[in-house]
């Protein structure tokens, strides 16, 4: 069954890279949604069904840790797995994100394999469909 992905990052180019990485990894994705910060992510979550969130931490308006806090306070939204993809890999930041409900953590810079393995561990291998891999527009 296809799953919907919400990518939250204030960098348009990083959202594009993460989306391409998921596409070439062969996941069976239905729809991609994109938000530039936590507030935009919550607006999307208000209107759309999302199965997994991939979020940065450092963002203006509402950062990734504040987004996690809001999600944890919401009965439905707290069940959505969140993968943090961020530049900081300090133990204290990782622990803070995990204690706020994040399921996994990937540090930038990342390889496509790291994103794939992390999403596999969070979503399960049943969501990968190799024969539908879309590598259009992707150079790596």
């Amino acid at each position: 069954m296809a799953f919907n992905v919400l990518i939250v990052d204030d960098s348009w180019s990083m959202r594009s890279i993460i989306k391409k990485t998921i596409q070439i990894s062969g996941f069976n994705v239905g729809e991609y949604f994109e938000g530039g910060n936590g507030k935009e992510a919550l607006e999307i979550l208000n209107d759309a069904w999302v199965d997994v969130i991939v979020s940065d931490i450092h963002m203006p308006v509402m950062d990734g840790l504040d987004l996690l806090k809001v999600l944890q306070d919401h009965e439905m939204l707290k069940t959505i797995p969140v993968v943090m993809v961020t530049t900081e890999g300090r133990g204290s930041r990782v622990e803070e994100a995990l204690s706020l409900g994040a399921k996994a953590y990937v540090q930038k810079p990342f390889t496509p394999e790291q994103i794939k393995e992390t999403l596999l561990s969070v979503m399960g291998a049943g969501n990968v469909v190799d024969d539908k891999t879309d590598s259009s527009g992707c150079d790596f």
Binding site: S11, S13, E88, K108, D139
Partner: protein, 149 residues
């Protein structure tokens, strides 16, 4: 402190350029070349030691990096995409610097900024030190200044 920052900055910048931009950076050990810069990306790190990081490069090299990063041809890359890519470059270098310095200091990362610059603007940047890196025979400068509080 400056020697430690210099080594860490070189390591993390190389790692970012190799992993996300598919580039082959080389350290530059020559004299002080007369370089002109077109773009600057900056990020501040706050904490007991305040640091300001600036990444300087030419438009030609920025276009190459953006093309490799985004998987697009040069004529598909807008000025906005170029600036966004450079913000992310500074963000990754700054974030990884903090990660590597974690044992010795507690720094927080600000939101990065990037802009087109005239060479004269760059001369006004406060510089404690800098490293020069070559990519495809072109230069990237990573400049930093430190403010002890």
């Amino acid at each position: 402190m400056s020697l430690m920052i210099r080594q860490i900055l070189q390591d993390v910048t190389f790692n970012v350029l190799e992993t996300m931009f598919f580039s082959l950076p080389e350290p530059y050990e020559g004299g002080d070349p007369d370089l002109e810069w077109d773009l600057c990306s900056s990020v501040k790190l706050d904490g007991p030691d305040k640091l300001a990081l600036h990444i300087l490069l030419s438009k030609a090299l920025a276009m190459k990096l953006a093309s490799d990063f985004l998987g697009k041809e040069h004529d598909e890359i807008t000025a906005a995409a170029l600036l966004d890519m450079l913000k992310e470059l500074a963000n990754m270098v700054g974030g990884n610097l903090i990660t590597r310095m974690d044992r010795s200091t507690d720094l927080s990362l600000h939101i990065p900024e990037s802009r087109f610059v005239a060479n004269g603007d760059v001369h006004g940047l406060k510089q404690d030190d800098r490293i020069l890196i070559q990519v495809d025979s072109q230069f990237i400068a990573v400049v930093w200044s430190q403010e002890i509080t």
